[in-house]
Amino acid sequence: MKHELTNVIEHDNFQGEYRILRLAAPVTGPQVKPGQFLGLQVPNLGERILRRPFSIYQADASGVAVLYKAVGRGTEAMANIQVGDTVNIIGPLGNGYPEPDASKTPVLVAGGYGNAALYILAQRMKKKGIAFFGGRSAIDILLVKEFEELGWDVRPTTDDGSLGTQGLVTDAFDPWAKKQDFQSLEVFCCGPNPMLKAIGDRAIAHDFTAWLSIDRHMACGVGACLTCVIKRKTDTPKDWEWSRCCKDGPIYESREVLWDE
């Protein structure tokens, strides 16, 4: 993990409300593991001060890219970032996904920026599998072509049926998974917390491995402030302990997570 002043080399609309921000980050880029993220300081956000976490969508020796959507003050202010500006990042942060188990069928389940977060993983995985992507409408499903080009079998679902199956991601995942030997699956999931919980519940019920990238509010991003904690199950009499999503996560195996109802 390092602190780096980066130069903006691309900042464009990507699809729908998503934008792509590409940074020249020669220190951070080569270190990135799939599933890790950046703590990005939004320039000229004077009155709101904390960094914002963004999954790393692409990384190589020259730099990193993030795909983001404006949802609030910080991400809206990011619209003002210009090519050539300097952006201050810390990264790569978090644990990242573990090395995929070569004996299993890799399955990706994602929604929103989750598709972007899983892209490096998909790129670097030797074995290609099946990807279930969910969103409200066709415009919300990112990178279908890119995943297909990498050799993944992409199954989109949309609430309005404008792309793929109509319904939730689980409406496509469930009938497919029933036909598989559950224990042969290894699922990598990134998206909104309800999606993670739905997949996590299935993993526990059918005893397959599912890696979930948990989304939490963060302040420091490095494990110092204890803002981002989730309840992680333990074998101790207390049953659970706080785990720092930014440092010990954001990737957890489904059986580790104790969801607050």
């Binding site: 993990m1 602190h3 001060i49 904390l50 810390i90 302040a219 110092a224 402030c225 803002t227 302990e241």
Partner: protein, 305 residues
């Protein structure tokens, strides 16, 4: 021109420069070790420790406000044993003094925690948290009544020879009397200030933004409050003051020194820009050089009023 002397003393503890980090904003050291040269700091102040492991508050624990943040973390920590096992060996690798922030649920805890820690090599001073707004027990319950406040300090004083630094709340009726009381009770220095009790409400759900309902405000919005408290305390005691509250730039730290602080702590700014401590140390040095001062002490309490 010769370099100014940045060294300062807190009781028997020597800091190579007057800059430490604020408890709870820097973990126990390892968290920022990739980003900050721990040997560069005047001292490392670790997150609050009480005798036993403590889980802290429910989430959400922090909320960002205009220019600052609220926190109600609730002092989670590994307890004395966990701290010694997990962090002391790490901290001993650096030639930087370690200030351990201690707190208790009941008054006796303040004595017990020192009993558990005092024999450990590598602990150089205790900062006594008498001012956390986020735990029902302990914290501010001990910091807002001057006689209880003095009793806790006397209790800790009787247990250790190491420097002790009570940390004060901003919302005490008269900070001068607390500063004087700390000095009389045997404190080596005082730390000012902890976060300011505060609240934020979500206008859609009508619920408080923090699970704990209330939290402590930190960051730039509290700096002018902290400057006044440091100034007032300095008028009333002759022990050193470690000033903190909203230090983001070297100029903020220098202002604290001029108000009467001998050292400063960088808190929330670490989250925003982990290079802040480094910049603050350099900035103080440049300022002293530019103004022709030989030592940090030349500017401490030099405010013209």
């Amino acid at each position: 021109m010769s370099k100014p002397n940045l060294e300062i003393k807190i009781g028997s503890m020597t800091m190579k420069n007057p800059v430490t980090v604020a408890s709870g904003t820097f973990g126990y050291g390892p968290e920022y070790a990739d980003l900050v040269d721990l040997n560069r700091l005047g001292a490392i102040t670790v997150k609050g420790i009480c005798p036993e492991e403590h889980v802290g508050n429910q989430t959400p624990r922090t909320f960002e406000t205009r220019g600052g943040m609220l926190n109600a973390i609730g002092l989670p920590g590994p307890g004395a044993k966990g701290f010694i096992q997990k962090y002391i060996p790490f901290l001993n690798q650096f030639n930087t003094p370690v200030i351990v922030n201690i707190w208790g649920k009941v008054m006796e805890d303040y004595g017990r925690i020192v009993d558990l820690l005092d024999a450990e090599e590598g602990i150089d001073a205790y900062e006594i948290n008498l001012s956390c707004p986020n735990v029902k027990e302990g914290g501010s319950a001990f910091g807002t009544d001057v006689s209880t406040f003095s009793k806790v300090i006397e209790l800790v004083r009787a247990k250790t020879e190491k420097p002790i630094i009570p940390k004060l709340a901003p919302n005490v009726p008269n900070i001068g009397s607390f500063a004087k009381a700390a000095e009389n009770a045997g404190a080596d220095a005082i730390a000012i200030m902890n976060t300011m009790p505060a609240m934020a409400i979500n206008i859609d759900t009508l619920e408080p933004e923090l699970a704990n309902k209330f939290g402590g405000l930190s960051g730039p919005p509290i700096k002018p409050i902290a400057i006044k408290l440091v100034f007032d305390a300095a008028q009333n005691c002759s022990i050193p003051i470690i000033g903190m509250g909203g230090i983001f730039e070297p100029e903020d730290a220098i202002e604290f020194l001029i108000a009467g602080a001998t050292a400063v702590a960088v808190g929330t700014a670490n989250f925003v820009d982990p290079t802040t401590v480094d910049r603050v140390i350099s900035g103080i040095e440049h300022y002293l050089t530019a103004k022709g001062h030989a030592s940090v002490y030349d500017i401490v309490g030099t405010v013209k009023v």
